[in-house]
């Protein structure tokens, strides 16, 4: 396997793995837990908090699965990059507004990260998504994309 392919595979596992873990830990927990984490950022209107707390974990989970299995990798790594950009914006504005929600709420009750640790993690994942979007111009081996491209 070429280094480019290996890197693409590694990025898929990392980005997909993080999104799946993050989505699953929130989706199996009561939605009220994530709603509380969202409310702590004091950013979203209250009417949007409840539906977002239900829909967002599923979005993470499905997109994470697509990326892990290399399905429309380029498109979904772009979408995931957009999601990490949203997280990062929320975290940075919270730091600037001096709002500390305690735990970021990113991984449900699974892992507790501070707001700054999460900002670094999200920045790294955002860069990884950009790299994967570039690498996935051609199908990456061991992916659904390469299986679909096979004649």
């Amino acid at each position: 396997m070429k280094p480019r392919d290996l890197l693409g595979l590694l990025l898929r596992v990392v980005i997909g793995g993080v999104l799946i873990y993050s989505g699953l830990s929130k989706a199996v927990a009561p939605a009220a837990e994530f709603a509380a984490a969202l409310a702590a950022y004091e950013l979203l209107p209250t009417s949007i908090i409840q539906p977002t707390s239900v829909a967002w974990p599923w979005l993470e989970l499905v997109i994470g699965t697509y990326i892990l299995f290399g399905y429309y990798t380029r498109f979904f790594s772009g979408v995931a990059g957009g999601m990490f950009l949203i997280f990062l914006t929320v975290l940075i504005t919270s730091i600037l507004r001096n709002i500390d929600p305690g735990s970021c709420g990113c991984f449900g009750a699974g892992i507790t990260l501070s707001i700054r640790q999460t900002a670094f993690l999200d920045a790294g994942l955002l860069l990884s998504c950009i790299a994967l979007t570039v690498l996935a111009k051609r199908p990456i081996p061991l992916s659904t994309d390469s299986w679909i491209a096979q004649k």
Partner: protein, 209 residues
């Protein structure tokens, strides 16, 4: 198989995998709310709407939501009652158990509510202490507890057992953070109690009418 068919097939399978995963991993059986002594129930005992609060005396958010809970009880007087359940988060709050045991000892003298109010109000004074016994005793005196009975109770393992029973009940109901408030079967966590508490009570009242 054409590429189009492969795309659709892959899309369907890869969408079903996470749905099945969540379905398998999600907790479906819930623990029940055990009977709670009257001393830890506030409001009309026959009120149709029951609010159950799982709370930790050392948790800042638990202290913050107290005025909201009080205002719900006042606004819906005769319609709601509040049950307090101990849920000390022992891994992050070193004095949470000892505070809960002290509150339980106050409950045994029917002074749970004034004692819990003072615990929350003085939280920043005792939360970081290595040993907060003197603060607990000072609050006990302030709310006029029988000090001999209070001291004896704090040494009694049954008080801690009650606290741990409540904590086990919380875990069986998939409560992972505090404060968690159940309004009927509806769950609210943290700051959402302040935001959505009244709406949940209204909904529960509508369901019961």
């Amino acid at each position: 198989m054409t590429p189009g068919t492969k795309k659709i097939l892959a899309g369907v399978i890869l969408t079903l995998i996470p749905i099945a995963g969540v379905h398998l991993a999600r907790q479906t059986a819930w623990g029940t709310v055990a009977n709670t002594p009257k001393a830890r129930i506030k409001g009309d005992l026959k009120a149709p709407v029951v609010m159950v609060e799982y709370s930790d005396f050392q948790c800042p958010m638990c202290a913050r939501v107290q005025p909201s809970l009080q205002s719900l009880l006042e606004r819906y007087q005769g319609k709601v009652r509040l049950i307090y359940k101990y849920y000390p988060l022992t891994s992050i709050h070193r004095n949470a158990v000892s505070a809960a045991v002290s509150a339980e000892c106050a409950a045994r003298q029917d002074k749970f509510w004034p004692y819990q109010d003072r615990l929350f109000q003085t939280q920043t004074q005792w939360a970081s202490l290595i040993n907060a016994t003197t603060v607990y005793a000072a609050i006990a005196q302030e709310v006029q507890l029988n000090m001999d009975a209070f001291s004896a109770c704090r040494m009694d393992p049954s008080a801690q057992q009650i606290v741990m029973q409540d904590a086990a009940e919380a875990k069986s109901r998939q409560v992972t953070s505090t404060p968690t408030l159940f309004v009927g079967e509806q769950r609210l966590v943290g700051g959402m109690i302040e935001i959505e508490g009244a709406r949940m009570v209204e909904r529960e009242l509508r369901n019961r009418s």
